[in-house]
Symmetry: C2
Subunit: 282 residues, 2 copies
């Protein structure tokens, strides 16, 4: 599959209305996940996060049953081979609205599914790790929206637009207090000696499902992960850093700007333990 | 006219693709203006602002000629009476994109025109002024996006959703430093003795065209308007406060939360001087 397909409110239509609040104001949320052998990988965790994010912006998430019904309808028209491995993005917006910011008294959330080809990553990102550049664009302090994967993503767009050097896989995002928050398209974990850290996301950033999955896994191991502010010096001084998201999975960070980082096989071990293989295997 | 009409990329189509970057990331800008006797009111100023805002997020704005050509096509299908008075919203996005935040190397901006009925405001808002409530939602410090009327408007949505009491016309938005920035849907001007102030918008907020029009008019009068941080105490202590946007025009603020403000006929004088009448006359 080279094309992108989509489905809006359970129909294979040409698009969403420009009066949809998702388009007009970015008034909605989304999640991106792998489709593998016809199943959405980690769907229960993705759904739980959709519900939580909807709630944070005062929307009611459609039921899992309803979303799965629309998803099955959507996939019924998919080419068989695309069900083996592709990427599914689910977008839920506050629905249609009149002019003006006020949310309508009665909203029917808009559900959008987008199916895209699974990206073909160079195998080196799994074997040798990836380099991140430090973005000039900073994330704003906005606790009301922090952690939510909402549709207001201009900061990410501008940060990602800074990347011109093909040696770099993604950007490193700091806030205005010089704290490390995340990558433009992923979350970060840091290991120093036997302690694992991940940046706190209570003032900005997106709390990804792969981040949650790793937090949950460490919990089952009885090992605490420290969720705290992390500055760049701590990142550069770490024994290992990984960057994670639900599409590429878990990657070692081998370099930040021009500085090489300490590396080991932490990313590979986590992929194995979490059974979240490289995308070529997926 | 009770319905809303729209036009996407010069066609009367059903919608925009969910892969449009305006929908996916709020990656675009917009302006709302009056249509009066078939003409877009203050179009040169609106166009100049569209160009400036596009540039700030590294987009190239289509030419005024091109936009006007699409607008004329759109209006050719409008009912004659709707050309006398309605509201036109122009949205320009970075266009279609693949999955991922990176702006495509080559973008064709998407142009959307939306025509809505002119709101019917109660005449009292022009004669007696309006009340504002102070929003709990604060605007984030983000100088990179400050002033731009971009499509990332969740702060405005959440702030406007706080309004439950029909006595209030709009919300008053502060930043996290307790500075007064704007109304949810308009800009503010304050007069103390003979001095006019308007909040600085270099850390957050939207620099509206009506705000610019008023700044320009005071300049032609040889009177400086002080653009500076303004706290709420200064607002409450002002001799007069007006709230302005391109749809309702210029309104006196007669009350903030439960506190009455000093009022005079500043709003009415400005409407007269700027030839920007009440919407019922427009």
């Amino acid at each position: 599959m080279t094309t992108v397909r989509y489905c809006v409110n359970g129909k294979l239509v040409a698009g969403v209305s420009p009066t949809n609040r998702g388009f007009a104001y970015g008034d909605g949320i989304f999640r991106t996940m792998r489709l593998l052998d016809g199943e959405l990988v980690d769907w229960p965790l993705h759904y739980q996060t959709l519900v939580a994010d909807c709630s944070k912006i005062q929307m009611v998430c459609p039921s899992a049953e309803f979303l799965m019904q629309e998803f099955k309808y959507f996939m019924a028209s998919a080419e068989a081979n695309t069900r083996l491995a592709s990427v599914i993005k689910i977008i839920i917006t506050r629905g249609e609205g009149a002019r003006g910011y006020a949310p309508p008294a009665i909203c029917e959330p808009t559900r959008v599914f987008v199916q895209s080809p699974m990206p073909v990553y160079p195998s080196e990102i799994y074997t040798q790790g990836v380099a991140l550049y430090t973005c000039q664009t900073r994330l704003a302090y906005q606790p009301v929206l922090a952690g939510i994967k909402h549709l207001n993503r201009l900061e990410n767009v501008l940060a990602r637009a800074e990347l011109k050097d093909p040696r770099f896989f993604d950007g490193l995002l700091l806030d205005y207090d010089n704290q490390v928050i995340e990558a433009v398209s992923g979350n970060l974990f840091i290991r120093k000696a036997d302690t694992v850290f991940t940046p706190a996301l209570d003032s900005c950033g997106v709390a990804g499902v792969m981040r949650q999955k790793i937090l949950d896994w460490y919990k089952t191991q009885g090992q605490a992960v420290i969720v705290a502010p992390i500055d760049k010096a701590a990142l550069l001084d770490a024994d290992a850093v990984v960057v994670v998201n639900s599409v590429y999975g878990i990657l070692q960070v081998s370099q930040i700007d021009e500085q090489r980082l300490a590396t080991d096989d932490w990313a590979g071990q986590l992929r194995l333990r979490l059974n979240y293989g490289v995308s070529a295997d997926a």
